[in-house]
């Protein structure tokens, strides 16, 4: 079972799946704010799910990055048709990701508050988390495509 969970395609899938959970949960949270909903419970569920999603994506993606990406994928991309996919997209992705978890914890704390003054910045921070997550997802797609071109080239 552990062999399957630690297989490279499964790790990539789990990394992406947890990231999608995080992105969708923070979009849900932003929607709660935008709709003027008053349920603290729903906001907290969304924020906790989002935080779990990004922590899961971080840990699983980090394991894949250190164990497989560096020794196996990075050399292929650097020798391929789009070496900038590692030099720009991967380097930016792996470091910008580090901004997300402190941001998500802060938004989770803000989700507990019903004060009207907190709602607007909390909503835009939730949108920002989702936007950063989507941007990193796009970079991940470019990196995967560059690895395929590297093999094809």
């Amino acid at each position: 079972m552990l062999d399957i969970l630690l297989a490279k395609p499964v790790l990539i899938g789990l990394h992406l799946g947890f990231a999608i959970l995080g992105i969708d949960a923070f979009l849900w949270l932003a929607g709660e704010y935008a709709a003027g909903a008053i349920s603290i419970k729903r906001r907290m569920i969304a924020a906790v799910l989002g935080l779990i999603g990004f922590i899961g994506s971080w840990v699983i993606g980090g394991y894949y990055y250190v164990k497989y990406y560096g020794p196996l994928v990075k050399p292929i991309i650097k020798e391929g048709l789009a070496p900038w996919a590692h030099a720009i997209a991967m380097e930016a992705k792996e470091h910008i990701f580090l901004l997300i978890v402190p941001l998500a914890i802060t938004v989770l704390l803000a989700a507990r508050s019903s004060d009207q003054a907190i709602r607007r910045p909390a909503m835009w921070l939730a949108v920002l988390i989702a936007a950063i997550g989507l941007s990193l997802g796009a970079m991940g797609f470019i990196i995967s495509a560059a690895a395929r071109w590297g093999i094809a080239g």
């Binding site: 380097e91 402190p102 508050s113 921070l125 920002l128």
Partner: protein
């Protein structure tokens, strides 16, 4: 501890952590001995940055939460907006640096 103080302290800790991540990332790519030192600590520079960023955030959150008085909703609101701006700036700094670094090297 009131909720606005928790929010304020967490947001300020996240701002400083974001600036530190961007700063260390950029300097380590320009000054190889720093990157080597980061690698020596855990076996991989990214693991050191990952653990370092979350530890720094939690320590700063604890310090700010314990060392300042209660915060008003307005102070909490302003710090959340500051976090919004500084997160964008930190992310753009990292992205712009790697574009520059690729084109320059």
């Amino acid at each position: 501890m009131n909720n606005f103080k928790l929010i304020w302290a967490s947001a300020l800790a996240a701002i400083i952590t974001g600036i530190a991540v961007a700063g260390v990332t950029i300097v380590a790519d320009l000054y190889v001995p720093l990157k080597d030192m980061l690698k020596t600590l855990t076996g991989h520079h990214w693991i050191t940055k990952s653990l370092g960023s979350i530890i720094l955030y939690l320590i700063l959150w604890g310090i700010f939460g314990a060392s300042v008085g209660d915060k008003s909703v307005e102070q909490g609101r302003r710090m959340l907006w500051s976090l919004f701006v500084f997160t964008i700036l930190s992310a753009l700094a990292i992205f712009a640096f790697y574009i520059w670094h690729y084109l320059a090297v």
